[in-house]
Amino acid sequence: MADKFLKRENLGRLIDSVRNGGARFVAPAIDARQAVYRAISGADEVTWDYILPRNSFKDYLFPQTEVVAEYSIGEGGVEIRGRELSPKDTVVFGSRPCEAASLASLRSVFTWDSVDEFYTAREDKTTVVTVACTNGDEACFCTTVGLSPESVAGSDVMLRETADGDFSVTAITGRGRGFLSAHSAAFEDSGSGSAQKPLFVPEKIEGVDISRIKERLARKEHYDDPVWAGLTRKCIGCGACTFVCPTCHCFDIIDEGTAFEGERRKNWDACQFDSFTLHASGHNPRDAQFKRWRNRFMCKFNFYPNKFNSRGCVGCGRCIRVCPVRLDITEVMEEMSR
């Protein structure tokens, strides 16, 4: 039973209410003819015509580049200062159930041993408002990895589109309930009574069995399987899959600046790059592209579930859409399910 209703034309009221409260409103907007998550200032910027924004909203929790310390080098010596952490309250509007489910995965990495507050402080200030999927494409495969267009994991508020284009609104978490009451002026107590629009449910890919993949990856014999080199030969190592993936979390730490001052930054990195594991000596323990591809696949289907008991792949299909050589992860999943 829905808690509230949101009229499409009242989105502007919601955006104003969120922004007047000092928070940032992030939603899909069209940029270079593609839907991307962006900080929004008015309803006219928001697009409703999207399947999934090209970038993941991890950009707002784990930014592509982020200052972790600042230094200055002067005649008096070197000074290095930490970065005060005061992330802005953020509302991510228009998320999809697949990527909302990735929050638990990112959190598992950033808190498993020591806590990386650069991530947790942001996540703790983020409200995720998810819209259940009423459209999709052939790259979507959430149902194959055990999710669905109405999964609520990771979402604070769930929206379901009705036939007349408005939304029924359900709070999932305490934060979600707080969000609804804080911005109650934007919501209605009752809807028009029109039926919910049918959801887009991707067909489960026949021949893919996640538990079978996990089992197979747990035995090291698979390393020698010629399937790896064969299927992933066309990978050019561009790393695009990792940058759009909502659970990819690898980063580099680099000093950027002048001779006098600069910043120590966390920048996204990718296990698909040949320099990722390269030692200064020249030795590289992961010395071929198919091994790097294999590593990413193992990270999704063995490392995440076994080490962190969380999900490595949410089936959003971004890596398939963005791949310049059409390397489809579900084909590898199929092969590894045999």
């Binding site: 070197v78 990386d116 090291k220 000093d255 030692h279």
Partner: protein
């Protein structure tokens, strides 16, 4: 005065914020290596064990993982750093009185107490002698071990590290055997790679632990040689070299399947690495 002197203390504790160390001594034992003795401003980081490492860096250049070469409880941190990349070449320009920045100590080192009572065979190749020195010093200090043998291979006599300390170790009961890869004028010791020192050893395989530290290429040959002497994979300890950035088990660079080398390693039993292809 150097630009790298007189640091100002940094305030909030962040796992990415390094702490300052004053360089008390800077020596150049070989053409490629520089030795530093550090006095950290924060005494807590002196609590390390052999086999652990620090992320060592200079603001403006970055950080690199460097193993500890001093024994534990010596009240200082000693590092032996080879100039191979950007960061290490910059560090080589530092001298006494300058400041180095470190984060750590990180990782799982050697369990010296757990090794007590055993015969130990230390096999070090090249700069692998740096972390080995930390372990040898800890073992000598603790006492209560069986036979101690150190096999150390260097490329040539001019590349031997800690040459002036081996007599002291011998006096404490360590059988130190050094070999160089190629013959050199005036060298009267062993010639050949370090693996050639293994077959002549008299090993009681039931009570021997072998510790292998060196470049990745060394491992498979040394492991092969030690297995031939009857040493079990459970009784071989080695340290994995990896590219590392955070030291916290987050950044992914040192990850091998389900293992973060910076957290669960860098010291492993060989038996732990058996199901871990790409490790060695």
């Amino acid at each position: 005065m150097s630009l790298y002197a007189n640091p100002t203390k940094s305030s909030p504790p962040s796992p990415y914020l390094p702490s300052a160390c004053r360089i008390e001594e800077a020596l150049r034992p070989t053409a490629k290596e520089k030795f530093f003795r550090l006095a950290p401003h924060d005494p807590h980081i002196l609590n390390y064990s052999p086999g652990q490492f620090f992320m060592v860096g200079l603001p403006g250049y970055g950080e690199a993982p460097i193993s500890i070469t001093s024994g534990p409880d010596e009240g200082c941190i000693e590092l032996c750093i080879r100039a191979v990349g950007n960061v290490t070449n910059a560090i080589h320009r530092l001298e006494k009185g300058d400041t180095l920045w470190v984060r750590g100590p990180f990782g799982r080192g050697f369990d010296v107490e757990g090794m007590a009572g055993k015969d130990l065979v230390f096999v070090a190749g090249g700069i692998g002698i740096a972390p080995m020195r930390s372990l040898v010093k800890a073992v000598i200090k603790r006492g209560g071990f069986g036979r101690l043998t150190l096999l150390y291979g260097a490329k040539g006599p001019e590349e031997i590290l800690y040459g002036d300390e081996f007599e002291g170790w011998r006096a404490k009961g360590v059988d130190v055997r050094i070999t160089i890869d190629r013959p050199s004028p005036g060298w009267k010791g062993y010639v050949g790679v370090v693996t050639t020192l293994i077959p002549p050893l008299d090993i009681d395989e039931g009570r021997t632990l072998a510790v292998v530290l060196g470049p990745p290429v060394l491992y498979k040959f040394v492991i092969w040689g030690l297995r031939h002497k009857g040493i079990k994979d459970d009784d071989m300890l080695l340290s994995l070299e990896r590219r590392m950035k955070c030291g916290l088990g987050k950044c992914g660079h040192c990850q091998i399947n389900c293992v973060y080398v910076c957290q669960e390693g860098p010291v492993f039993r060989l038996s732990e690495l058996k199901g871990l292809p790409e490790a060695i």
